[in-house]
């Protein structure tokens, strides 16, 4: 135990002695958090909508005015045929068009039903999905409104229990920053942790000081724990700063327990740092360690479900995400901070992370050789 403390102290001395390192470790991630949270905004505004109104009725006017009122849509033109509207999409003037067929109003009154057609340019899949979702939300809203309004004039004919509920996903007021910030925070903590630990042992190999350590009676686990602890502490401090920024700047709700977040983070960091140290044990130069760390991180980040939903990945890719620690932590952060999930909700995440932490660090200890 005492030996470990001597290593920890040495690491801290070395980290804080380098004047460049402090801003690198603490300031840069905060800047990144603030910038990325604003940039990674999936909210789609100003969707160009073209309207094909073949009904020209009170109902169609009401529906169109609802779209006009929405801040997500700009109505860029009107025409009478879908062929013309299609040309607008082709030319790029419109992102989608809404076709209101003839007899729309009559259908609503007589048959209590009517159909509409939305045609969306889906080259940008994310935008298309959201445009579709927003349009649907508006149409449903319209639907609910006419049912209540018209029910008054036609007593007795009120439709039975038709209620529209919004899910947040479709809520134009939904703040994407609260959704993104916890995830981005995970990435930043991961990046710092993995690079610091990944470069560490290999740096001692390059300088040659590792020889001097290897010729002492130090135990391998003492060495690895001594190397792990300082970065573990730094990463947790980093996470705390990030959470404070998230709370102050982005109004992250903190619905769930912070203890839960920290307990999970503590285990998660053991996985990430252990992985970094493992990389450090089998590489010979910092350059090699850098390449391998990047390779892992890119896969971890792009497959973490932060930027693209895991559910929309092909099945084999979804299978890979089961081995991605970042995906687990992103999910836990969102579940606990935004939804208020409790321990029972994320107990599986805990079990997986604990197993991984154990496996990675045992591997790191085994793979660190004092005798070659």
């Amino acid at each position: 135990m005492r030996t470990i403390l001597f290593i920890v102290r040495k690491e801290f001395l070395q980290i804080f002695r380098h004047k460049v390192m402090l801003p690198l470790i603490f300031l840069m991630p905060i800047i990144q958090l603030v910038i990325l949270a604003h940039a990674a905004d999936f909210e789609v505004k100003n969707i160009n909508l073209h309207i094909v109104d073949q009904d020209k009725s009170l109902a169609s006017q009401q529906l169109i005015s609802k779209f006009q009122a929405s801040r997500n849509f700009n109505i860029v033109g009107y025409s009478f045929s879908s062929r013309l509207a299609f040309d607008k999409i082709q030319s790029g003037d419109a992102d989608l068009f809404l076709e209101i067929p003839p007899h729309f109003h009559r259908g609503l009154i007589r048959d209590n039903k009517a159909s509409l057609q939305l045609s969306v340019n889906a080259i940008n899949g994310v935008q298309a999905g959201l445009a579709n979702a927003y349009a649907n939300a508006i149409i449903q809203d319209f639907n609910g409104q006419i049912r209540t309004e018209w029910a008054k004039t036609r007593a007795g004919a009120a439709p039975a229990g038709l209620s529209i509920t919004y899910s947040n996903w479709f809520n134009p007021e939904m703040n994407y920053k609260t959704f993104m910030v916890p995830g981005i925070l995970v990435l930043l903590v991961t990046l710092i942790g993995m690079f610091l630990s990944g470069m560490n042992i290999v740096k001692e190999k390059e300088i040659g000081t590792i020889e001097q350590i290897n010729v002492t009676p130090i135990r391998k686990y003492q060495f690895i724990i001594g190397k792990l602890l300082p970065f573990w502490i730094i990463a947790l401090v980093e996470l705390s700063i990030g959470l404070v920024v998230g709370w102050l700047v982005f109004d992250i709700p903190f619905v769930g327990s912070l203890w839960l977040i920290y307990s999970f983070a503590a285990i998660y960091l053991l996985v990430v740092l252990g992985l970094g140290l493992l990389v450090s044990t089998f590489t010979e130069t910092q350059q090699q360690a850098m390449f391998i760390s990047w390779f892992l991180l890119i896969i971890f980040i792009l497959m973490s479900g932060l930027f693209t939903p895991i559910e929309s990945m092909p099945e084999w890719a979804q299978a890979i995400t089961h081995f991605n620690p970042v995906a687990y932590f992103v999910e836990v952060m969102r579940m606990v901070l935004l939804k208020g999930s409790n321990f029972m909700d994320i107990r599986l995440h805990f079990i997986v992370m604990l197993t991984a932490a154990l496996a990675v660090n045992v591997l790191a200890v085994v793979n660190y050789r004092k005798t070659n």
């Binding site: 102290r9 001395l13 070395q14 000081t209 350590i213 290897n214 002492t216 004092k370």
Partner: protein, 245 residues
Amino acid sequence: MVPAITAEKLTKKFGDFTAVNQITFEVQKGEIFGFLGANGAGKTTAMRMLNGLSRPTSGQASVAGFDVYRETEKIKKHIGYMSQKFSLYEDLTVRENIQFYGGIYGLPGREIRHQIKELIGGLGMQEYANTLVKAIPLGWKQKLSFSIAIMHRPEIVFLDEPTGGVDPITRRQFWEMIYKAASEGMTIFVTTHYMDESEYCGRVSIMVDGRIAALDTPRALKEQFGASSMNDVFLQLTRPNQKES
């Protein structure tokens, strides 16, 4: 008395290349044993096998009575090592380096504080105590490395070209430190390619191409080769063809 180091047909191969080829020797306790050889003769590799950093390919060896295959960690408790590469942390101060290595060797806090005072005082380095190691002159660094390598009072200390690149005065001081350690009963195993330094050793082995070509006291070696200095002995061994021509 059990020898401090024994090696029998100790061999290390890297692929097809035989770095150390069946070397056999013994080092007695308290002896200053010089390990000579040209660059690439296998000195460092041999030393690394003995101090547990490198696993031998074949042969037998024991250090402080422990086997170099099975008991490397026990060996490490009884030895000190000063590697050819500079082994102190350049971004730590002199004091912090002493503290760190003292801690790693498990010295109690009181002993570490004592050593800091003793060591810095003994070296006359008071003015450098809180200086980063990278800022102190090479000669000081080497003397400091040696002091740290023997801080935990090992039975045997391995020195790999400890005086490389150091001025003659500092080399002289360095050897005084070595003599002092030996007089306290420490066994010294030192590699060098300064032939004048080999005269300071009790016995000397000269490695050529991975083998031990000669092993005896400096005086006996000079007599054996009819040479006036160890330099001559060395040249005869490493370049036998030149002598004939």
